[in-house]
Amino acid sequence: MSKQTATLFVFFLAAAFIFTACQPTSTTNEPTVTAQPTSSAQPATTDATTQSVKQMLADASYQTPAGAEQVAFTLTVDEAGVITDAQTTVQGKAPISIMRQTSFAEALPVALKGKKLSELSKIDKLGGSSLTTGAFNAALANLKSQL
């Protein structure tokens, strides 16, 4: 199994587990996870400028109290095997499945690279950096000098 395929497999096993775990279940009828990548993960065509980036598609099915559900993923994986983008195609039938799949799709983390402040067009204010107090900095410098 290639690194990318392994990455994909782990990703969607986790996703299927989350959907299943979130469903209300009876104690006598535990849901089963039947996660199978479709004919292993298939690299899709990517544009010429990003040869090392692969897109991978997979379908997953899982059992819920309301019956079997399907969900599809498209993952973009870079040369190091890191997922840089992930799209979920919601295919749920039961309302609760649609809700879970939608909220999972929205909660997927995205990779950040950041920008230099100078790259931004005019901003009004720089926020979000809780500044360390002068007194704290002085104390820390003093502490370090004693080490």
Partner: protein, 295 residues
């Protein structure tokens, strides 16, 4: 645009007013903002001896009168304590002191005192304006006081007739709108990297707050603690939140920093807040309706 700056509550403050102020009005306004902020600091800073939050440092168990504003702040704290399942508690002040984050900034943890430290128990009676404590307690209002005060200054500016403004204190913000009705564009600093940004947001009658784990740390400790385990928390690198007020945004950052992610959606709904979290692997997780741009 008129910009006023001053230092208070251990950080830098800047007030942008979208209007040309008369030159003679400036010093008066500046003095008003500074005087009020300094007075708030003297009453509620844990770092100032004789402040209201430290007056039960050696108190016996009992019921004590508190000021109206202390009731207001402790009411906010009490709600947040509930929202965070007890992981936020202003009674953490005493624990912060024994790990070295004390008024003299010793930054030397006292392991024996950490081991024996127990969370003091306090209850608030809002009608009587009293608190009941089970013994010595030091309140730390970090996580609520700055956002609260940013909103107070915004209110003060409205009362003074300056409707179009942005109040910023140490990176947290409350902004109304600009004179032409448009939003304020605010870049979000990348935690720990001053010239790097992780995104930008547009604020209009909204507050913004941020928490940064990389700051204020020494050894294994930093200023955000798990009060139940008596350990530093480090769930992520940093976070930013947006809500209708700076106070609500500030409270949401405490929820994110101190509680498990399963509690976040409920708290966000209660506080009508949106959030983004920068994870250790440099990915961002956002709430469903986060409207800012991420880079």
């Amino acid at each position: 645009m008129t910009v006023l700056t001053f230092q208070a509550l251990g950080t830098e403050w800047s007030i942008d007013i979208d209007a040309e102020l008369q030159v003679k009005a400036l010093p008066k306004l500046e003095k008003l903002l500074l005087t009020q902020t300094t007075s708030f600091e003297h009453q509620f800073s844990r770092f100032i001896e004789g402040s209201e939050v430290t007056q039960w440092r050696v108190a016996a168990a009992g019921t004590y009168s508190v000021s109206a504003q202390m009731v207001e702040l402790l009411s906010i704290a009490e709600k947040l304590r509930g929202l965070t399942d007890g992981y936020f508690d202003p009674a953490v002040g005493g624990l912060l002191e024994v790990i070295g984050y004390d008024p003299s900034y010793s930054l030397i943890p006292d392991e024996a005192k950490i081991d024996s430290w127990k969370t003091p128990i306090w209850t608030l009676n809002t009608t009587q304006q009293t608190i009941t404590v089970n013994g010595p307690i030091i309140f730390d209002l970090g996580g609520i006081a700055k956002g609260y005060w940013i909103d107070q200054l915004s209110q003060l500016l409205l009362e003074q007739g300056y409707s179009h403004h942005l109040v910023e204190g140490g990176g947290d913000i409350m902004a109304t709108d600009k004179e032409d009705g448009s939003s304020w564009k605010v870049a979000l600093a990348w935690p720990g990297q001053p010239d790097q940004v992780m995104g930008q947001v547009w604020l209009k009658n909204q507050g913004l707050a941020a928490s940064d784990i990389s700051q204020r740390s020494w050894g294994k400790w930093h200023h955000l603690l798990n009060i139940k385990e008596k350990t530093p928390t480090a769930q992520f690198i940093g976070c930013a939140t947006i809500a209708a007020s700076a106070a609500a945004a500030d409270q949401m950052t405490s929820v994110l920093a101190l509680t498990h992610s399963t509690l976040w959606p409920t708290a966000a709904a209660q506080l009508s807040a949106e959030y983004m979290v920068l994870n250790h692997d440099q990915t961002a997780t956002t709430s469903q309706r986060w409207s800012g741009e991420l880079f």
